[in-house]
């Protein structure tokens, strides 16, 4: 147990060490890549699903419940389940691919693929919240707008481009902000699927901070915490302002 009364002031030493480590640079790169990709996929995929689920289809209520389901299961349990699916020889994914004669990759063991496998799982889980937010936004758009556009001869794409997209903007912004910040802070899924491995291939800032904390490098861990703090502040606040400034009222 480390003692709190006994500390030395080391200036920026911890930050220098932090940035000079190879694992750190890869960690920052991974964190940004992870956040941007999960955010992008969730924002686009969920909009499509939400538009489908607000269309006049009959099974939409059942599907809404199904889509929402992953949200109640803990991230760590989902990570465990998907690591089983991604088992290189016996996992469901590769058994399925084998039926088509494709030799599946080692989803979590391949240095170049592991991060994307975790990103895929994150999108699977996170698309539900985004869909719910979009559904609320889409339902708030008055039907009369679409009717008026149809009378003026607007096609499906034009209605989407000029009515749906601008009016669902505040939902899009919420989804982007939530997903991006969530992605920048991601830990549970990384930890339960790869523990940052293989090597440092899936380490993110949060997992590095935890590893340093668990190994007793409290100074480094806190330096990492501060780096994450600034990274999120630098990305999230300006983005938030920018997105809000482009919203229109219904």
């Amino acid at each position: 147990m480390w003692t709190l009364t006994d500390f030395r002031f080391v200036g920026l030493y911890n930050f220098r060490t932090f940035f000079s480590e190879y694992s750190m640079r890869i960690g920052i790169k991974n964190t940004i890549l992870y956040a941007v990709l999960t955010c992008g996929f969730k924002a686009v995929l969920a909009l499509g699903i939400a538009m489908l689920l607000t269309s006049p289809m009959k099974t939409k209520h059942i599907i809404r419940s199904l889509v929402f389901f992953p949200n109640i299961v803990s991230t760590i349990a989902i990570g465990l389940t998907f690591s089983s699916f991604m088992h290189p020889t016996r996992g469901l994914f590769n058994t399925l691919l084998a039926h088509f004669g494709i030799m599946g990759p080692d989803w979590l063991g391949d240095i170049n693929l592991a991060l994307y496998s975790v990103i895929f799982t994150d999108v699977w889980k996170g698309v539900s919240v985004a869909t719910v937010i979009y559904i609320a936004g889409l339902q708030a758009i008055p039907e009369t707008y679409y009717e008026a556009a149809s009378i003026d001869g607007a096609g499906g794409f034009q209605r989407f481009r000029h009515i749906t997209l601008p009016l669902v903007r505040s939902s899009i912004n919420t989804v982007i902000i939530l997903a991006l910040i969530g992605g920048l802070r991601t830990f549970d899924l990384i930890w339960s699927m790869t523990r940052g491995g293989p090597g440092f291939a899936t380490d993110t800032l949060a997992s590095i901070i935890y590893k340093q904390y668990a190994n007793g490098f409290y100074g480094l861990s806190t330096a990492g915490n501060v780096v994450m703090f600034f990274l999120i502040a630098i990305i999230a606040f300006p983005l938030y302002r920018f997105l809000i400034s482009r919203e229109v009222d219904i």
Binding site: L4, L52, S55, P56, M57, K58, T59, I62, I63, R64, L66, V67, F68, F69, P70, N71, I72, V73, S74, T75, I76, A77, L80, T81, F82, S84, F85, R90, L92, T95, W124, V129, V132, I133, A136, G137, S170, S171, T174, I181, R185, F187, D188, W191, S192, A206, I209, Y210, Y213, Y218, S221, T222, N225, M228, F229, I232, A233, A236, Y240, I244
Partner: protein, 275 residues
């Protein structure tokens, strides 16, 4: 093509896709939690040769009934957090919406900042250690409450805006004090959003992994999510045990989901409107 047939096809295709994408994984978990160790190791969707219900008591009994201890810890943490969150955030959200001055705008900005920025972990541990609540359930409850305040206050603030001020004015005219007015008049009106808050934060706190990992360390006193993490090391090759643990720790949120499906959704959407 006929519109009716077109929608029928869309219905069938999307339902089939939704089942494959969202139901199969959970079916897989349940199925494999009931298999023998060898069968579960195959990781497939075949039906088990015989149902191994004993996996569940075995998981519960591991490490001298650590799971039971973990359930106790998780339930106490979740209940405590919810009670405190509702008490603090209902008051806070109400005042923040009703009193509009520079100071409140500042407070509001600070709270919204909490939605974005990550918590500073070691300084938090340092403070908790000094006041003697580190490694305690009470300490964990405090952390969970602190981290959930921004979102919850946002929900309450948004909902308060829909309550007409005339109600309070009438109550004041009739000689109602401010405490009594909040308890007897405002709080009952906030019940719909309180229901959302209760369900959302229950799922959130119960499923939390990171904070118990930092603030309730030690293998002897885990929460349910930590047991799964510990079992992943111990039972690395016993997938039936791991999935039995997953099923057990998913039951409480599942019950909430079944009863409050709509509440969860309305809570998220209410929180999603502009802050």
């Amino acid at each position: 093509m006929n519109k009716k047939i077109k929608y029928l096809i869309i219905d069938i295709v999307s339902l089939a896709l939704a089942v494959i994408i969202f139901v199969v994984p959970f079916y897989f978990i349940l199925l494999n939690s009931l298999k023998s160790r060898q069968e579960a190791g195959m990781m497939n969707l075949a039906l088990p040769a015989s149902l191994h219900w004993e996996n569940y008591p075995e998981v519960l009994a591991t490490h001298n009934y650590m799971m039971v201890r973990a359930f106790y810890n998780s339930v106490i943490t979740t209940t405590g957090s919810i009670l405190l969150l509702v008490a603090v955030c209902a008051l806070g959200g109400y005042v923040l919406q009703r009193v509009a001055n520079k100071f409140m705008m500042g407070v509001n900005f600070l709270i919204l900042t909490g939605l974005m920025l990550p918590p500073a972990i070691l300084p938090t541990i340092w403070v908790m250690d000094i006041i003697g609540i580190y490694r305690s359930l009470f300490g964990l409850v405090m952390v969970e409450v602190a981290l959930n305040i921004p979102f919850t206050v946002m929900l309450y603030r948004g909902y308060t805006a829909s309550i007409p001020r005339e109600i309070e004015e009438a109550a004041y005219v009739d000689g109602c004090g401010s405490v009594r007015m909040f308890v007897q008049i405002i709080f009952p009106l906030l019940l719909p959003v309180t229901a959302s808050v209760v369900v959302l934060s229950a799922v959130n706190v119960f499923n939390d992994f990171l904070n118990p990992l930092y603030f309730l360390p030690g293998a002897k006193n885990p929460t349910v999510q930590l047991t799964l993490n510990n079992f992943m090391g111990r039972y690395a090759n016993s997938w039936n045990m791991l999935f039995a643990d997953v099923v057990l720790i998913t039951i409480p949120p599942l019950i909430l989901f079944i009863f409050f499906n709509r509440k969860i959704v309305s809570g998220i959407t209410a929180g999603a409107v502009k802050g």
